[in-house]
Amino acid sequence: MKHREAPTRIKGQAIRVSSALLIFAVIAVCALLSGCGNSNRIIIGTQTFSEPKIIANMYKLLIEDRTDMKVKVMPDLATSTVVLDALTNDDIQMASLYSGIILDNYFPIERTNDRASILRQAQEGFDKHYGLKWFDSYGFENTYAFTVRKELAEKEQLHQISDVKDKAQSMRLGVDTSWLERAGDGYADFQKVYGITFGKVYPMEVALVYNAIATNKMDIVVAYSTDARLKEYELVTLEDDKHFFPPYDASPVIRKEVLEAHPELQEVIDLLIGKLDAKTVIDLNYEVDVNKRNEKKVAEEYLKRIGLLK
């Protein structure tokens, strides 16, 4: 008796379990598919670092607050090139990009370091060749910047790069290894344009320059202009008075057909245009990178503080 009972019981169980699983699978697949095909939903892609992530979360909050659209943020796309590919393939519909990306030969451009011209060329080129609407800048750029300790800047009255010319011979420069050899905007061209040669040059990993200057091992370093460590270590960036570095102004970018289908987005996207200056972005990055907080929370707090979100 026992022998006959056992297999039947298992079989009954197996059928019940497997049918439950099958129903679950069908529901899950439906949910998955309906999630993808929804035209009322957009995906904002971001690069791997903090500021595009924070901004993407700001737009998510603003768009969901002011329209009936749903937004998903897809973070950690390896590089700006990957982000651009994803936009072109319609894997994502919106992102933040930097105007200097056009220097990487996406379409023919006229070489210049003029901020307005680079931005305009990006707007026209990506509209024509990629079907993307490239907005005006948020109001900050993320580019290379010569950086000194605050106390040195105050003592020597340093405001722009040309100010260091007389002292350069006695200064120790810390730079990203690749910048030393770069053609176009590397050290060799820098020397030509500014006529400045530093006493000693120390190539290193770019992440190390911040600590090196903060601990007085360097006098001047080439850093990224919106890095949170500028605030952490109280560093001051010098104005690039000869416009040597190519401009990397950050702008929201969206697929044109999405904007046409949802004209209400225009107004929401405009809310951040010209509203985020370098200092604000450094502060926001500081919360995420130094205080180790989640970008969603940082974005929400900021929007509430400036009154864009209740």
Partner: protein
């Protein structure tokens, strides 16, 4: 350590959502593998030639590095969760097929003869004799597949997928170890739980089947 607790306290809702997404991806991938893999395993057990082809193909899929497989799939399916689910499905195939195959072929010939003797049709023998006896083996396959899938699912963000890997990658990219652990620890716990739960189920069927 303090940073980790503060991070988890502030973001536990998101972490729960990521855990849910993680479980969903693994379950869907695994279920698809069962739906496809069990019939393939049955086919393989009935005929030597088909066994060789099916097992070889499944083996080839398995030895593909997970990262390479996902990136290849991304070319076909684009960025997103679909790519990850298909990858997990492919990865779960071999353990399911192989263990179904082994389970079915280890059933004693005499047991099947006995089934034939009492007048069972081949379908009845398969459903009422072979499959119940193969069940513990098949569960081994599912157990292996589940643990592998939970691990592989953590690289989902590389192809635009969701899940706990999100926190792991953000942690790496933004040099935030609190965040890395906030993703890695739940993923490890998930794998352990899945392993334990399936082990218990396996033991239960073994006892019942004896």
């Amino acid at each position: 350590m303090e940073l980790f607790f503060r991070y988890v306290r502030e973001n536990w809702v998101d972490l729960l959502v990521f855990t849910g997404q993680h479980i969903m991806m693994v379950l869907i991938g695994l279920l698809l593998a069962l739906v496809v893999g069990i019939p393939l395993g049955i086919m393989a057990s009935r005929n030597r030639a088909s066994a060789r082809i099916i097992l070889t193909v499944a083996n080839i899929i398995q030895v593909f590095p997970s990262l390479a497989l996902l990136v290849l799939l991304m070319v076909a399916f684009g960025l997103g969760t679909t790519t990850v689910v298909v990858g997990l499905f492919l990865y779960s195939l071999l353990p399911v097929i192989r263990n179904t195959y082994v389970g079915l072929t280890q059933v004693d010939k005499s047991t099947m003869e006995a089934g034939k003797g009492v007048g069972m049709s081949p379908l009845q023998i398969m459903l009422q004799v072979q499959l119940p006896l193969a069940l513990p083996f098949m569960l081994t396959g599912i157990r292996i597949a589940a643990v592998i899938a939970i691990g592989v699912a953590t690289i989902a963000p590389l192809v635009g997928g969701d899940g706990l890997g999100r926190e792991i990658y953000s942690g790496i990219n933004m040099n935030n170890s609190a965040r890395l652990y906030a993703g890695a620890i739940p993923a490890a716990i998930l794998a352990l739980l899945a392993d334990l739960a399936l082990e218990r189920l396996q033991n239960a069927t073994r006892v019942a089947g004896r």
